[in-house]
């Protein structure tokens, strides 16, 4: 017989499901499952790989770009709390803000493990200009209190691409980087799901907003796609494997009604 606490989630009414998964308690119980035993985002006993100077150089550049993306996500998620239209969204974004802060911390920690003495300076020096421009535009949308556009930029465009890139990179990465990225991917699943579902509900009720999002997408797609293409070059992803990168994002926007 099932433990009394093992509830069948599929029997929940939709309102109760939304209440449950957007709660701080749900987030806390979920992340404990995979972050509990980690130190700096990886297990303490995971060995440091021996990297060639060129491999290290590429990895440092890639991690610096991830830090630019995570900084944008951290500031974006924190700002979105103010303009979120309901309590569920505000509480969820509070948990996402904590996630993004953790991501930035573990990625910066990984840079230190790789011998980077001043990660902030290195991120500023190596960070992709297109990602920095994306960061600037995202914060403009947040400051402009443009909820659907800012949420689309952050939780669909950025999170979907990060989810795909980090998952792909984790398959080829050294053991420590792999563990750091795998932990982040688990968080990204919630972030992109939240974005798609929240926007899906908004577009269902206000289909005219789709045109606004189409324009935002046209502007921001190139910035994010270009920077992640550079990342794929740096980590040596074969061309054939890169279709996976875009397909995830394209499937999400297709479900939202952007052909």
């Amino acid at each position: 017989m099932a433990h009394p606490l093992e509830r069948d989630p599929h029997q929940l009414p939709p309102e109760s499901f939304l209440e449950e998964v957007h709660s701080f308690a749900f987030w806390f119980d979920a992340v404990q499952g995979y972050l509990g035993d980690l130190e700096h985002g990886h297990r303490r006993e995971t060995p440091e790989a021996v990297l060639s100077p060129l491999e290290r150089e590429h990895l440092v550049t890639v991690l610096c770009n991830y830090c630019v993306g995570e900084t944008a996500a951290l500031e974006g998620a924190g700002g979105l709390i103010q303009i979120a239209p309901n309590r569920h969204a505000k509480v969820f974004l509070a948990t996402q803000t904590v996630d993004e802060g953790r991501h930035l911390e573990v990625l910066t920690g990984r840079l230190r493990e790789l011998g980077v003495e001043d990660p902030e300076a290195e991120i500023a020096r190596r960070g992709s200009r297109s990602l920095q421009e994306f960061h600037r535009r995202l914060l403009e949308l947040v400051r402009g209190r443009d909820w659907i556009a800012a949420l689309f930029a952050q939780n669909v465009v950025l999170e979907c691409m990060e989810f795909a890139v980090f998952a792909l990179h984790a398959k080829r990465a050294d053991p420590r980087t792999c563990e750091v990225l795998s932990g982040i991917v688990k968080d990204e699943r919630r972030h992109m799901g939240f974005g798609e579902n929240e926007l899906g509900r908004r577009l269902r009720d206000a289909p005219y907003a789709r045109e606004r999002l189409r324009a935002v997408r046209q502007e921001l797609d190139a910035l994010v796609l270009g920077s992640f293409e550079e990342t794929m070059d740096a980590i040596g992803t074969p061309r054939a494997d890169r279709t996976e990168l875009g397909s995830h994002y394209l499937a999400a926007v297709a479900r939202l009604g952007f052909a």
Partner: protein, 99 residues
């Protein structure tokens, strides 16, 4: 169940549904009390059971204690998505997102 919910459970046809006892497959992205309802997907070669559907948003396998039928409601707690079971190409059951 909520009376106004359009995704009420599909009407029970004459054949009884197969029931399943779910085991914990180590999916650690949801609270412990929900873990047995989800598992990682092994890719295109991973055959889904009669009680399983793939979440199209995050590619996690969503599991039920009973055989799935068209119209059933499922939830993916890993990405917070509400799903409905539909007949896909060739009549194969699959999950579709409901916003």
């Amino acid at each position: 169940m909520t009376p106004a919910d359009p995704l009420l459970e599909a009407e029970e046809p004459s054949a009884p549904r197969q029931r399943f006892v779910l085991d914990d497959r180590g999916f650690d992205e949801v609270p412990k009390k929900y873990r047995r309802f989800y598992r990682k997907w092994g890719g295109p070669g991973d055959a889904l059971g009669a009680n399983e559907a793939l979440c199209p948003v995050c590619k996690i396998v969503v599991r039920s204690t009973r055989e799935l039928r068209v119209g059933d409601r499922l939830y993916c707690m890993a990405c917070m998505t509400r799903l409905v079971v539909v007949a896909g190409e060739g009549g194969r059951l699959e999950a579709q997102v409901v916003y």
